[in-house]
Amino acid sequence: MNNSFWHRAQNINPKILYVIAMVVIAVPLLNPRTTLPISPNSQTKKAFDAVESAVKANPNQLVILDCQWSASTRGENQFQTEAIMEHLMRLHAKFALMGFVPQSRILSQKIADRLAPKYGYRYGIDYINWGFKPAFEQTLKGMAVDIPGTLKEDATHKPLVSFPIMRDVKNFKDVSLIVEVTPSSTLDSWLGLVQGINHTPVVYAPTAVMAPEGYPFLDSGQISGIITGVAGAGDYEALLKTKGSATQVATSLSAVYALIIFLIIIGNVGYYASRAAERKGFAE
């Protein structure tokens, strides 16, 4: 009886699971045509709409895309940054990249370099990279009063005032939207020091483990939407109606999730069925 199908279903060798997992991950990556039905989460939809409406309401104002991530969380944050940047470029929004971890300057610039030619974006005119700034909270406090005065130079150490894009930017009143891509607890400072004072809309793009930190603020309206991890990035691309790497990775991810859920179900059904069989007395 111990060789019954149900008994085996609850004792699958983990090595087999790992092989299946690898296949499940690799196939969507290798074959971009594999798709699962993408049905964007309502939190992502809110984020997408917030970006759309903020840019359309104030087309001449600046969007700040704050990238707080480094290589260790690029598996999630890179795709969020990419999807949002693509959206901004498509809307012809002017935007500024910035970050408070040293690596982010290079990582976010790489994405901008890849996307810019497609939309004819020119550095210094359509977008700018403010680079890495130390002392997160002090910088935010300073920016609330005077952005060019606090930041002084861009990532290439040229004075900010020399760029056309910065001509009309003084403080957060000239900023239409803040997008925070982050793997750590940085949201509080943005809300306390910036959003709370100027009511600039904030879109939050955290790694999946950090997402719950944003829920209370989504509810109270302090943030306008949450893009949760790489799945959120995939949703975002679906809303953009493009299929980039985020969609691929999100498909891989959904496939792994489906696998895990399937395994949990099969394990439980097996467990239940073999227990039922034993109870009926034809176990041995």
Binding site: P14, N31, E76, T207, A208, L218, D219, T228, V230, V256
Partner: protein, 224 residues
């Protein structure tokens, strides 16, 4: 040829071989893994030791002592020597002495940490139980009165705290029941943590698979 050259780029090859070796552990511990495990530990420890010099000792001790001539910083050397008393029965008590100072330092910050990290959490647990007017705690459920959520919040908080009574529990049936439900609620909470962590972990695995398939093997060259 160009492709072969790419595959054999030393840094990339090292990274790719290491990645495959480490990931192979899920199937079975093998020589390939063992080799990279030892290399990994060697590299990491070497990195840590060098970092102790470049990031701690050089800027905070050597530069002031040697660079700026503050000779009295040399008093740290005998203090540091005390740790090595562990290796002798005669001097081992001196290692306990210096470790004791470190224990004291670790323990001494507790009042400040308690006041600045945990007491504010007591305050933010004060939630109105009757009114609907304050969106004090976000709800997630639409059209559900905040007051009910606040009741739930309180109930969960207190019953889980009750589970962690160690000396009182045996004494009262009510306490026992509350504690049991506290344990159940804790399980719901821990399940949620598990579920919320999966995406971050899988995203990392997918990132490594992408590294092997695209950055190293460049399979995207062959697919269209």
């Amino acid at each position: 040829m160009e492709y072969l050259r790419h595959l054999m780029l030393p840094s990339l090859l090292f990274a790719a071989a290491g990645t495959v070796a480490i990931l192979s552990l899920v199937f079975k511990e093998n020589r390939f893994y063992r080799f990279f495990e030892h290399v990994f530990i060697g590299l990491a420890t070497g990195y840590g030791v060098a970092l102790t010099w470049t990031d701690v000792l050089r800027p905070n001790w050597w530069d002031p002592m040697y660079g700026e001539g503050r000779w009295w910083w040399a008093f740290v050397v005998p203090l540091g020597m005390m740790f090595y008393g562990v290796y002798s029965t005669k001097f081992s008590w001196q290692s306990r002495l210096i470790f004791g100072v470190l224990f004291g330092l670790a323990a001494g910050t507790v009042f400040q940490i308690l006041s600045s990290q945990y007491i504010p959490q007591i305050r933010s647990s004060f939630k109105p139980l009757l009114t609907n007017s304050q969106p004090d705690i976000a709800h997630g459920l639409i059209d559900m009165p905040h007051a009910i959520n606040n009741w739930i919040f309180m109930a969960v908080l207190i019953s889980v705290l009750t589970y962690f009574f160690f000396a009182f529990e045996q004494k009262s049936k009510i306490v026992q029941k509350t504690a049991t439900s506290g344990r159940y609620l804790l399980m719901i909470s821990l399940g949620a943590v598990f579920g919320a962590t999966i995406m971050t972990r899988e995203a990392l695995l997918i990132d490594r698979v992408r590294f092997l398939l695209f950055d190293w093997l460049q399979l995207n060259r062959f697919m269209h």
